[in-house]
Amino acid sequence: MPKIIIDGKEIEFQHGQTIIQAAKDNGIDIPHFCWHPSLSVSGNCRVCLVEVEKMPKLVIACATIAADGMVVHTQSEKTLSARNAVMEFILINHPLDCPICDEAGECKLQDYTYQHSVGESRFTETKQQKDKRVELGPHVMFDGDRCISCSRCIRFCDEIAGENQLTFIKRGDRVTIVTFPGKQLDNPYSLNVTDICPVGALTNRDFRFKSRVWEMSSTKTICPGCARGCNIEMWVRSNEILRLTPRQNDNVNSYWMCDTGRLETFKFVNDESRVNGSHIRREGKLTKVGWDEVFAASVSELKSFNKDEVAFIGSAYSTVEDNFLLTKFAKSVFGSKHLDFPRQIISGSGDDILIREDKRPNSLGSELVGVKPSSNGLDFDQIMEAIDEGKIKALYVVEEDLIKLNPELENIIAKLDLLIVHASNFNNMTKFANIVFPASTYAEKNGTWVNFEGRVQRIRPAVSTFDIDRSLDGMSMSRLDKFGTEYDRWGKVKKTEARSTWRILSGLANAFGTKYKYSMAEDVFTDLAKSIDSFKDLDYDVIGELGAQLKIKTHTAKV
């Protein structure tokens, strides 16, 4: 392999790599604004200037192909003074309005100013003023003053989202970003530009002014929006989710996520409609009851039916662990053959970038742990038919709103003698339910999902409930979480009385007389890794932050 020397350190690189790439692969960070590892090279910010021996002038590290034997200095006097000069230039027209800018705290320009600039300006003239608060599209706001013309946003739209929507107009210090005439920045991935914009020129309209970045905790988890399972960070303040951002995983989503995933997948967690505590229907009304009572009631209700009259519906929103226990409970503890889970496949909604037609994060995982009918048991459609015909009288539904999926099912659900549901929010199903278990959402539990390619990935709790504690259960904590007390207004956070589906099911199994010795989701996973071949040799540590590929042929996945 060819070698290059950067700051006295000899490193190997691959042919065709630029200096900045070779450096990055070896943990050397060369400052850059316009360069992005997955966008084309534009080379306009000039902050990556480095000194290369035997070259007459400084070169930009992002566009200079590394050559064998090259000697590069990123910290030499010449480099540092050039870098400082570039920073001074970039800051000439920058408004320095960090106090009112949402990017403050995660701003590349702010960081580099501290790291690579002497922080003094010789510019006494009037700064160029440009348009502020420009709605580039439904989700993105643009502030012209802050833009440093790096063109990352333009290149993202052209190269990743595949839609030419943004461009530069004007020249010199008047250059600014606009959408093409008659166009909007409305591609399904538009919000990624707010992540890659190195300054606060592009902001997320949904999150604007909601919180300072340093006030939130962030948790590495997975988007539940579709079968892709994009890796994300979940940002929480005072136990409330405020935003989601993509997290790099080259095997799944690269640096990106879609706007639907980013905006539509977390608001229900903080919603007023959350089911808080178990409920039993008495005299037509759902009444809150304690856990022992609801388990006892469920057992006696379920036992009043023939085993063949009861069907179980799992969910591909639930984790692998949840579905594993549902299968065990339905088939071994209760002894029903009728078990399946509904699919939500919206044809035509997918694309070649990230979005999948299967709108569930764990369809493959649910299949793998056995959420399917036993031989001569009924599948989902057959169960619905059987309810209609009066053959199935009781239904146990986990975390799915079947009526929302298919409004025609309302008449069928209404025919049931007994409906037990696990629900995170009151919904169409809870209207008919006799017993409602409060289910933790994906933001409140540990577990795993398997994406359409057979990659098992971990979700982690970011919001605490009465069942999972921020400090005791090792969830990520902001400074406010660490030092708040119940006497602080911000310390009095809203918590829901809810449990993960596997916990509810193991409580119920207990009430049926079958003891499971699981105390956390990881125990369930360890157990299923022993009994299910596809998960062999896996544990939470192996899965880690970036997931692990299951040894299966992925064509078993339907979409």
Binding site: D97, C98, W214, Y487, D488
Partner: protein
């Protein structure tokens, strides 16, 4: 029991006490005719100098707008976590304002860091030191109690411009 030895034994004169009492009384009488330093608070109020750090307040401009832009730096620097700021958008040129600004006076230690870090000269240490509460909720001051016209904060602002 071990009797401790005195460092110095009293002399005969001291043992007599009377000369010592006379000495003490003369000091007392001398002081009666010196100018008094104490103040008959609360009948007479103490007006602190500009350098005094009383409870932090928010500056309200003459046109009725608050200076604070809800940047949250004061909340971040506050070692006692006394400040809570919630930003929101406004139509004004500085597009951000505090929808909620609360200082928990039971937490505040009057360090003045918030004033020091504020980029807008919006939070200032006032001369108000009269803080007594009968319950915890009353000790949380919202914008209603914090906003103070700049005219009342003039000498603190001048002091800061001179010495900060």
């Amino acid at each position: 029991m071990i009797q401790k030895k005195r460092l110095k034994d009293l002399t005969l004169l001291e043992k007599l006490y009377i000369p010592e009492i006379v000495k003490g009384m003369s000091l007392t009488f001398q002081n009666m005719f010196r100018p008094a330093f104490t103040m008959e608070y609360p009948e007479v109020k103490f007006v602190p100098p500009a350098s005094y750090r009383g409870r932090p307040v928010l500056a309200l401009e003459e046109n009725g707008e608050e200076r604070c832009v809800a940047c949250g730096l004061c909340a971040r620097i506050c070692p006692a976590l006394a400040i809570e700021v919630q930003a929101a958008e406004t139509d004004r040129e500085k597009e951000r304002y505090p929808e909620k600004f609360e200082i928990n006076m039971l937490r505040c230690i009057f360090c003045g860091f918030c004033e020091d870090v504020c980029p807008e000269e919006a939070i200032l240490m006032s001369k108000d030191y009269e803080l007594a509460f009968s319950n915890r909720e009353d000790a949380i001051f919202g914008k209603d109690k914090l906003l103070t016209p700049v005219s009342k904060l003039k000498d603190r602002i001048e002091f800061l411009r001179l010495y900060k």
